[in-house]
């Protein structure tokens, strides 16, 4: 697999590698790009009927994690729990045509990152993001892009700005 062909000095070795992936992927008979993307998009589309169920479960789990954080004070573990759900919402939203959901969840992740880095705990800044996520889940908002709801986006930016300038 590896083929030494160059030695710059005693401590650095530079060599060619042809991986199985490279070798096999170059074989004839693959699916051409445009068709492959079309097939892949169709297969992802088939998941969309299940997306509502998944989204509902994630939002409920997120809301529950926030409620537990509020009940349990400022223990470090709650950031990870909320962050986990927020990350999943952020990472999936746009792929499932819910770009606004990705934006709001991403903003929540930034808020949590600031708190993890030492910013002051502020439950309202988390709760308002959760409320915004529930709003974005609703049909009229589901397919909107962030620039179609400028007031909401401006509000979330102010919240993030407030958190990032509030030392713990």
């Amino acid at each position: 697999m590896a083929d030494d062909n160059n030695k710059n000095d005693d401590n650095v070795r530079i060599f060619d590698v042809e991986t199985t992936f490279q070798k096999y992927a170059r074989r004839p008979g693959g699916v051409p790009r445009d068709r492959a993307i079309k097939y892949a998009t169709t297969r992802v589309e088939e998941l969309k009927p299940d997306f509502d169920d998944w989204l509902d479960k994630e939002l409920q789990a997120l809301a529950e994690a926030v409620r537990q954080a509020e009940d349990g004070g400022q223990a470090r573990g709650w950031i990870d729990a909320i962050n986990n759900h927020a990350r999943q919402l952020r990472d999936v939203g746009t792929t499932m045509d819910a770009e606004l959901l990705t934006y709001i969840a991403g903003s929540l992740c930034e808020v949590l990152d600031e708190m993890a880095a030492g910013a002051k705990f502020n439950r309202e800044s988390i709760s308002c993001h959760v409320d915004a996520l529930f709003l974005a889940r609703q049909r009229p908002y589901r397919t909107l892009k962030p620039d179609q709801v400028p007031e909401l986006i401006a509000g979330l930016r102010r919240v993030l700005q407030h958190v990032s300038t509030s030392p713990g």
Binding site: T19, R33, Y39
Partner: protein, 195 residues
């Protein structure tokens, strides 16, 4: 366009992500590309065990894969001398596209960074680029992995950097998130004398 086609049939592709739903989405994309041997794992412990047990041809790994994280896992794969998967292509999937995070992925030995949320086009083009653009490996005291000094001339299918595009302006250490094209360009920054 024939040279822009990749054949994923019979290649063992491992998706390492704690989210079963996201893994399912990527799994389906790969099926659409023609892949027929796709595995999934949820933790870095499971991932490292899988790599010990069998040969994997390409790894799609979440940068936040618990508990170790994708960066550390990448470094461990690259540094383990007796590991037959040491040189496999590793594509790190991440939502953190700040310049520092992308550089860390590159310096850990990742072949490519894919920005989440992932689209079929972005996934196909990055797999195609890794497959069709050979890169040498560097074995140095502080680094083992694909040569970080490489140049992207444009992705198969026309996505990515093109001749005549402006060069990437390197931002401050904690700058804003980068677009996928900027991430690609950052991987090529070393050759252009910007890193």
């Amino acid at each position: 366009m024939s040279t822009h086609t990749i054949n994923l049939r019979d290649l063992v592709i491992l998706i390492a992500d704690s989210s079963s739903y996201l893994s399912t989405i990527i799994h389906r994309m790969l099926r659409g590309f023609g892949a027929n041997k796709i595995m999934e794992c949820r933790t870095s412990v499971e991932l490292l065990q899988t790599l010990t047990d069998q040969k994997i041809d390409v790894l799609l790994c979440d940068a936040n894969l618990p508990p170790l994280g994708g960066l550390m896992v990448t470094q461990m794969i690259r540094r383990k001398v007796d590991n037959e998967n040491r040189t496999i292509p590793i594509l790190l999937m991440t939502s953190d596209t700040r310049e520092t995070a992308v550089k860390q992925a590159r310096d850990a030995g990742a072949n490519m960074v894919i920005a989440k949320p992932i689209s079929p086009a972005s996934l196909y083009d990055r797999l195609a680029w890794v497959a069709l653009t050979p890169r040498q490996f560097v074995d140095a005291p502080t680094y083992f992995g694909p040569d970080r000094r490489f140049k992207i001339e444009g992705y198969p299918g026309g996505v990515g950097r093109r001749k005549g595009d402006n060069e990437l302006e390197v931002a401050e250490e904690s700058g804003p998130a980068l677009e996928q094209d900027d991430i690609d360009n950052l991987f090529s920054a070393a050759r252009m004398g910007k890193d």
